[in-house]
Symmetry: D2
Subunit: 388 residues, 4 copies
């Protein structure tokens, strides 16, 4: 049995997220990077491919050339899926072209530039029957999966309150914008879309809340702000939430919280217990009760559920981090591809991977948050057709 073959679009020299995808794909030795179109600049693409030890003939000057070139190769050699790690506005066209040519797609988030594109993409995925993955990587952590399974098993009772927050500080001053390529495109409406903070990180927080609780956000009241003078897009946002199961909540995202790193954190409270998880200490899950001591659950221990177990590599006390979580998304997707090709049903671990529904909900959330923030009306509901 061979490794699963991956092609990459984007992620050339100097790009950050492309490297993350490659580390994640490489870690478990089940996926092989076989080709790439790493930049719209053919020379840069070629240099990047060489640095990645790819043969020159599999390094393409454009994604179109890659799709064409790979399609012409024998089935057992050609790439099986395309990893899309371009800037946001290219996600949709590359995904569209890849699916249309018969290749599965693993896309960086946000899935598309607009909700409308996401809805089109959903149609295309449904039509082609091909696989689509989306790297909402924070749901790849074992303890996030444990949290989801505990809620699903009703161990906290009915969920009534959710607080999810995602403070960062790196965009706190205008100089950050000037010096930093990462900052520049996120704050440019032409490259980032209608939102910076909610589009970049708020959407992760919303996805995490829905993944863990198993409920959907149904209404929001939003207050987004470009805190740093002169910005066109929000760099901070606070949102009151209501969920379709009756729970209420708060979502906070910020890129101007000076001194915060990447402090994604969630707390959820049912009528029987509460949970807390922090991305910066990802191997710990806290369960809280009114009538007995708080419990600290840790990765790698036998009392955890099937998904946490299946997504952990090392024994307890050997911390796993962001790349391992990211790799879990890739491993699940690779499992889906193997099942697809063998005509089997994918196993529990492989199915547990963000996909096209998360893509649509994410884009819907971003557009709703911006609209709600611009309105003097308090509550704004998700339109039905966007709610999967």
């Amino acid at each position: 049995m061979a490794k699963v073959r991956m092609g990459m679009v984007g992620g050339g020299e100097g790009a950050f997220i492309g490297a993350v995808h490659r580390w994640a794909a490489a870690l478990d030795g089940e996926i092989e990077l076989v080709c790439g179109a790493f930049s719209s600049d053919p020379e840069k693409s070629a240099r990047s491919g060489a640095a990645l030890h790819l043969p020159a003939e599999r390094v393409y000057p454009s994604y179109q050339a890659m799709i064409e070139g790979e399609a012409a190769l024998p089935a057992e050699q050609r790439m099986q899926f395309v990893a899309i790690v371009t800037p946001n506005h290219m996600h949709f066209p590359v995904a569209q072209a890849s699916l249309s040519a018969g290749f599965h797609v693993m896309s960086d988030k946000p899935a598309t530039f607009t909700l409308d594109e996401a809805l089109q993409l959903r149609e295309l995925v449904n039509e082609t029957g091909l696989l689509y993955g989306l790297t909402h990587a924070y749901t790849g952590y074992p303890m996030v999966k444990e949290a989801r399974q505990r809620v699903a098993a009703n161990q906290l009772g009915s969920i009534r309150k959710v607080v999810v927050e995602y403070p960062q500080g790196w965009l706190a001053s205008a100089e950050d914008e000037a010096d930093n390529k990462q900052a520049a495109w996120r704050l440019d409406p032409k490259q980032a879309g209608i939102s910076c903070c909610i589009g970049d990180i708020g959407v992760h927080a919303a996805n995490l809340a829905e993944y863990i609780t198993g409920s959907h956000i149904s209404k929001i009241c939003a207050d987004l702000t470009p805190v740093v003078p002169g910005r066109q897009l929000d760099d901070d946002g606070s949102i009151l939430l209501r969920f379709d199961n009756g729970a209420k909540g708060v979502l906070m995202a910020s890129q101007v919280s000076v001194g915060e790193e990447n402090a994604l954190k969630i707390r959820a409270y049912g009528d029987q217990g509460g949970l807390e998880w922090s991305q910066q200490e990802p191997n710990t899950l806290w369960l809280k009760y009114n009538d007995r001591p708080t419990e600290m659950l840790r990765t790698g221990l036998p009392y955890l559920g099937t998904l946490a177990q299946a997504n952990t590599r090392t024994p307890n006390g050997h911390p796993e981090g962001y790349l391992e979580a990211f790799a879990n998304i890739y491993m699940a997707f690779a499992g889906q591809i193997r099942a697809f090709e063998s005509g089997c049903v994918a196993d529990e671990r492989s199915v547990d991977c963000p996909g096209i529904n998360e893509a649509v909900r994410g884009m819907a959330f971003i557009e709703l948050a911006v609209a709600a923030s611009n309105s003097e009306v308090k509550w704004h509901a998700f339109p039905d057709h966007q709610a999967t």
Copy 2:
């Protein structure tokens, strides 16, 4: 020089907060409990007074009797101030009667039952020229004072974002209500007023945010909920904030967050730095920066400011807690009384004590939060006359 003499109204057998006030007043040996009307039941009052080692003749059957009896004593014997630790609805009448008879007042919070009473009380305080203290005890912690001084000294730059939260879990189920005297009155509109969660703890969070930032909340958008079925008053609330300096924020209070204890916590971010303080680890203050390591400040160390120093008793590493913070409020008030009696200006430490302005703002916040939550309009402003 004698100790400052305190009379107490309320706080008889089985009452919790009366004991807290007595511990706080006793700790430093500067205040002496000389008399009390500990219960509206004269026998219970008498038993309570005896247990507190008071002579029988200074234990009164009613607050009216105490005011009358003490007023008849020689000036150097009679109580100097009245500590009010009754249920909420009695705070105003006792304060009114005490001030009218020439006694200073230290009141448990909330100051009154309604905003209207608070406004009346403010008038009375101004007319009599007497002293009024309010036990927003969380501002008594040295590291809260340090936070305030650092913000005032512009060490974080201009404050742009505030997140204050106060989750508790003890009212998470209806049974809690039935079994628990503390729960019963807080959830009864006749005793607690128009709000449970915001009135009991949300108002502490708001006060803390204003104390530390030195700014006033100017607008809110609120979502209060009686989460447990059958309740008339809110047991959870989330509020979006805007401050008069332009900062935005979020205030969360909850009594149904299962497993949370008394987890008051605040984070504030300026354009140069951020701070974080948690009531359950009160001797630590975190200062955060984008360009250098996060700093952990600790009580008792020489790099702290004047207020933190003046409000700490023990060397670093010897934790001080809630009672010490509460005692700091009492020590400040005792200092005000000594200054008042000697005709001096109170020193920095003594002035730093919540008073009638905080009383009015607290009641205004509660009433505004309830009104805002009941409205479909998004933002609600503090009326000018309530904003001190």
Copy 3:
């Protein structure tokens, strides 16, 4: 019923530990400071007494005068016990004189200057039948008591390993010594005795380990060091331990661990579970297991045992600190005095107070540690007669 009446020797202006004893004694309103000999300088004693609001006639120029003067008062007025807060070398003579005159004694630690004095004192206590308390205040914390009760109830199984550490940093440089009265006497063999670090804090660590485990240290191997050049006494020590139940352990104490505050911490492991407690976060006790999640126990919660409950004042989430722990020692001792005077048996809470046995073991530990450190022989046993 009147308050218990306390006289104090030492603790005048500028002294630290005297103030701690007074705060602790005052907190609960059960003990009244009625007299004192606060300094060997009569004027200083008088000034100190006035500042403490004592009548001039109860402020004495010497401890001898106090004992004589109080003995001459009517029984219902005179002090009932003497709190000794002098420098170490005076503990024994004051305790001896007080007991001989019929007064109970509460002494700061270490009990005496030498083991020999401690053994004499034990004889005197036994002869007089009077009460003797010793402020090993760290055992006053509720969660330390919980730990002891859990071990006693065999919830961790048989204890096999103990790690107790007490790092401080405040004596890390020679300048600290010059500037600091607290440092000066501790490093002076004439005032401190044969050890600085072990005598001042190591003995607390040893006491804590014995209190929690219910076992006695039976053998040690010690390495004490005057780390800062020029010092005569140790400012750091590491000691291997063996306990009489077969457990092994390590005790570390240090005053040159730069940046550490007062970081007393203990871990104990039985064959069924482990526990961990840190003095700087005293309201938390960790219980650890191999087969289920670590538990975080917190003060004020109903699952705690009788001693923790009886020694906690405030609800969960309202932190109690060092002064409350210290006050617990005083409350226990006051309970012993009331029981003594009424001829009753003291209750569980009152009995739980360090006394003359801890005094002897502490002095024996200090002398053994110094001897062992000076020896090239590895293991040194506690002589039987010192081991209570």
Copy 4:
């Protein structure tokens, strides 16, 4: 430029550490597993190789066959180094054979079965001039490297006290031994050598202390114990340390500390500052001072030194873990190989990799600890020839 080619000995089905080495080698895409002898059982080796997607002709029935087979391949195809992940007793023969055949060696620790073998191995490495790496992986963490650089730059002043501890709980009961393959061989003198706890984890602690402080342990006093009845080898050990720079310290290692996971932690104190690092929260380094606030340093931030920067993949707030630390060792070794082959001097990052000197010191430490523990003499010195 091609990837560096790795062969593996050991690490077949069901082995844990082999998988760790493969993840670590694969992560960065710079090393390719090209062949292996995964088990002494040829069928098992073949199955393991197939599962790892290796061509059948590069999966060998024995390490001898692998060395022979690879040596026969063209230089640009054959493996460049051998990763040894067998049980301990096979480390030496495989390393010897590999080096003798001209292959570099990356060995799991401990390097050999005895000190004598380690000394032989050092001679062979010196003779052949080939590269030898040892996976003391905990020194691969960026914040460990930062600690080393800060000490080397004298930012803490002269180091005077070191406390390094490594508690685990997984061997706390005899049943653990029976059920667990990992336990069984570690407790069997024939497979593990003369020590379990010190040989398995104590040696990591010693290595970490020497790596960070830049000083060598020169004398020890040891107390090792087989705590669980019936065991032949130690499962717990406490060791007093003296370093060649005059510092003192304590090393604790335990496998019977119930509820502890893999809690390697180090504290070091100089005369100007202290540091603390914990393996279970590896992205944080604490720096402590007496005269200013404790600092929390975090991976990925620009104030860190060259080694921390070079060994971090993701931005701050994206936690890296054990596999990334392990991969850093592999990346350094791959850098050495590339430099070796190109005749260049290896760069700072590549040189920073545990090697043959650490191999010798580790074996010397284990043998000295066992001898010292068995002796009634207190202090035992490292013989010179073992001390590198």
